[in-house]
């Protein structure tokens, strides 16, 4: 693991660090306006138009056999693009409440529902609350390996993890299904802590949502093509899988790169705001790239900024990042960023390496001892 130098902060420095980030947040919230509203509405329009164009091309290919292959490929790409844009730049950000300030009931974080098999309600709980509050805290953030993978040496090794290079690939292909059942915490049923009946009752809303999504993508639209349903059905399957793999890659790059850290439960007890910010920084990693990368990742290319300010509109992260980098440099904190191949290469190495037994390195404290909890 490459050695990263992070200065150990004193309690006073940690407070100042937190105050600077709070001030940065306030500066951006104070200037929200027309331009931000126009941005998210352009994203909505992008989702709708790419979606309809993708579906139209799939039908074109199904009915006009001379253009089947080019139309099918273009249709799949556009439909996947639409779903990626919807899930990442629109839904993920809207569900965080980033655009609540607009007062538009259709862009409200507490009610928005997205184009994916998981329910937005589950996501609000597992992601907005647990993952964002307890980022990379072992035992509290279920996103660490999703109960399926051993990403960090601090997770206890079991022989099952020897299979994880294969499991990780299957998980990527089916990622939306993994997200959908994350809040069911099937482990509790395996362990006999809840009955099958209780599990079913909990699963009802997500079951309904899965049914609706499958009906739309795998029944309704293929059926509209009548006898030529097959290319439409396959197109929908492939578009959904492309979306799954892409979201998996982006999300794994966010917290599982080589320098990303995990934390013990004790560190969130009576946690100060500055400490919370520092933990978000140490547990997150960015993906370097231009505007296209920002849009396609739903601005999770700015995972650090997103974790500092999950409810600030994501279209501001690129500008915020300039200041965050400068603040991190002044406080001697490593700003974890790199190209997509570099970051995902580190993720893949972790998945392979920690399939085998491994021992955690000695951890340096985040703050000096007198900080105390």
């Amino acid at each position: 693991m490459p050695a990263v130098h992070n200065r150990v902060l004193s309690a006073a420095e940690l407070d100042a660090f937190g105050n600077e980030l709070d001030a940065l947040r306030a500066r951006h919230l104070a200037t929200l306006g027309d331009a931000d509203a126009r941005y998210i509405r352009r994203v909505v329009a992008g989702v709708r138009w790419t979606g309809v164009a993708g579906r139209a091309l799939l039908f074109l290919g199904a009915f006009v056999h001379s253009v089947l292959i080019p139309a099918w490929i273009a249709g799949v790409v556009l439909l996947a693009l639409s779903k990626i844009l919807e899930n990442m730049e629109l839904a993920h950000n809207v569900i965080h409440g980033q655009y609540d300030w607009m007062g538009d009931p259709q862009l409200q974080g507490s009610t928005y529902e997205w184009d994916i098999v998981g329910t937005a309600d589950n996501w609000r709980k597992t992601h907005n609350f647990r993952h964002h509050t307890y980022t990379n805290v072992r035992g509290l953030d279920d996103d660490i390996g999703y109960g399926l993978l051993r990403i960090f040496p601090e997770q206890r090794w079991r022989p099952f993890y020897l299979t994880q290079p294969v499991v990780a690939v299957v998980f990527a292909l089916l990622f939306e299904w993994g997200i959908a059942i994350q809040d069911l915490r099937l482990g509790r049923w395996f362990a006999g802590k809840i009955t099958f009946r209780q599990l079913l009752a909990q699963a009802r809303p997500v079951g309904r949502k899965m049914g609706r999504q499958m009906f739309k993508d795998y029944l309704l639209f293929p059926a509209l093509a009548g006898p030529f349903f097959l290319p439409v059905l396959l197109g929908n399957v492939v578009a959904n899988v492309i979306r799954n793999v892409w979201t998996y890659v982006v999300i794994f790059c966010g917290h599982f790169t080589a320098d990303a850290e995990t934390f013990p439960k004790e560190c969130v007890r009576d946690e100060s705001r500055g400490h919370w910010y520092l933990r978000q920084l140490r547990g997150s990693s960015n993906i370097a790239g231009g505007k296209a990368m920002n849009v396609m990742t739903g601005n999770l290319s700015h995972q650090i900024e997103h974790h500092f300010f999950p409810d600030v509109p994501a279209n501001r992260y690129a500008a915020i990042a300039v200041e965050v980098k400068e603040i991190c440099a002044r406080y001697g904190q490593h700003y974890n960023t790199g190209s997509l191949p570099k970051q995902f290469g580190q993720v893949m190495w972790r998945i392979v390496r920690h399939a085998f037994p491994s021992r955690p390195a000695r951890v340096k404290p985040l703050v000096t001892a007198e900080q105390g909890a």
Binding site: D100, W101, Q106, N128
Partner: protein
Amino acid sequence: MSALPRPAARRSSLSPRHWVSEELFDFWAGRVHPLWTLRRARARLVSRNAASADAVTLVLRPNRHFRGVAPGQHVNLGVEVDGRRLSRSYSPTLLDDGCLAITVKQVAGGKVSQHLAQHAQVGEVFELGQAFGEMTLAATPAARVLLLAAGSGITPMRALVRQMETAGMPVQVDLVYWAQQREAVCFADELADIAARHPGFRVHLALTRDQTAPAARVGDYDFSALGDLSSAQVMACGPGGFVDAANTRLQGRVATLQSEAFTPPVLPDAETGTVRVELRRSGRTLELPRGTSLLQALETEGLRPASGCRMGICNTCVCGKASGVTRHTLTGEYAAEPATQVKLCVNSASTDLILEL
């Protein structure tokens, strides 16, 4: 044309509203016609005219989801200003062609009134809430009617006067209308015309800053000139102070008294003491302390609203605020805008609040 709002329509299970996502439908329908939506009532600005020196009358065409309005009622209009949808109440007059006329008085520093009075272009689309308010005339009118209006409080009265005129002015109607000076009086010609046609209708202008003879405010107004009011149905609309004074003055001396007050939010002098917080969905009203986060204050009262991080980042505790002023516990900033979202864990109540909880 019915005077009363119609109830929400019941629709068959084949109606698209049961199987189409509202966002999807509204997006594509909106490309075809700006007023087409699945459920939401919206209205389009079709014309605008000056109503007085500082007021403008806007004529709005609502879509089919708007269920109508009775004279004297109010509607909330959602107007987008600098990316934010801001909601304000207006008392519309229902025109013969189904359009709504609202009269907006420009308020210094008022984002919505200035936008509507100066910048709103014909064709602009607004969100429209369903009508609300109890200040309506009974099917069988009282022996006589007395309407008291101050400033913008004239708008529901205008609608009520027009309703009585359509009914042939069956009872004696007196309108006392307070304004600072003549230039600020709205509907002067229209009211004078109706008075000329109907001897049963009288308008009494009370100009409080008139140069020659300033009129008395409602507390000192000489109602004796209007004759015996003991059988009168009285309606009053204006700023909070005006309505309070009218109530004190006339309570018990008239048959019935209904009032509607509009008061711009006023920031508190101190962040101590308690305020009244109405929880609209559960129908409870609580006394909660200022300076304590709403989440903590509600939990102290034994309530368990949804919550998560308790530090303002996860958005789990977010809740609609219909009215009132809240204060951010970390930044100290005040939020006075009605019909917005508030995170309970990092906001405290500064004034009386109405929450969608």
